[in-house]
């Protein structure tokens, strides 16, 4: 009876571990520059009082578009994940190929500087 919770328990531990790990890691590794805007209570470092007609830098668009592209590919993982066991090794290999091609896409974007902010 209890064994059936083993997977869920492991999952829970892993999730907590990753979350805590990330918080701890960033507080050690992240740069700490403190300035007035960042210390405001809301808006994550954005100035809370600005004109409503704010325009975004066009640099955001590239990241947004790339996000949409890679994000939507996740749609194919859902049916695969549901039928993971029944599809067996064949489905696994097919999915690896799919991810490999996505990886080549990511490599291309990276090398072309699509992920650079500056």
């Amino acid at each position: 009876m209890l064994e059936s919770y083993l997977g869920a328990g492991l999952m829970l531990l892993l999730a907590i571990g990753i979350a805590v790990g990330m918080v701890v890691m960033t507080s050690f590794l992240g740069p700490k520059r403190q300035f007035a805007d960042k210390m405001e209570p809301f808006e994550c470092g954005e100035s809370p009082i600005v004109s409503p007609h704010q325009r975004f830098s066009v640099k955001f668009y590239l990241v947004a578009v790339l996000f949409v592209l890679f994000d939507i590919e996740a749609v194919f993982f859902f049916p695969w994940a549901i039928l993971f066991k029944q599809l067996g090794i064949f489905g696994f290999v097919e999915m690896l190929l799919f991810i490999l091609i996505l990886g080549v896409g990511l490599l291309y974007v990276w090398k072309r500087g699509g992920l650079d902010w500056e």
């Binding site: 066009v58 668009y61 578009v65 949409v68 592209l69 994000d71 939507i72 049916p79």
Partner: protein, 106 residues
């Protein structure tokens, strides 16, 4: 699978889908802002998705859902290419009004 389809008949879904599709078509034909036209096209594609999925449920098989997955992915690819084109255009001519894109003439 035991899915009751009695609650809302298929025709209603199809009607919703057709209405959305026509709204999309009207948007493409009547609006002059490239981005709004673009959004109208997305409405058309999503209207089709509603049709596909309701047919899929009605027929109790899965081709329609797979189809709608493909439509979503292709729509995403189209969005990125379309936005890139609009941005490239905007850099040369800062407007998104379709009536002003008339360099080429008959």
């Amino acid at each position: 699978m035991d899915i009751s389809f009695d609650a809302i008949p298929l025709a209603h879904y199809l009607l919703l889908s057709a209405t959305l599709f026509v709204i999309g078509v009207m948007g493409v034909l009547m609006r002059r802002n490239a981005i709004v036209v673009f959004m109208s096209i997305e409405i058309m594609l999503n209207a089709v998705n509603i049709s596909l999925i309701s047919f899929d449920r009605y027929l109790n098989q899965h081709d329609g859902q797979i189809f709608s997955f493909m439509v979503m992915c292709v729509a995403a690819a189209e969005v990125s290419v379309g936005l890139a084109i609009i941005i490239a255009l905007f850099r040369n001519k800062p407007t998104v009004n379709l009536d002003e894109f008339n360099i080429m003439k008959s």
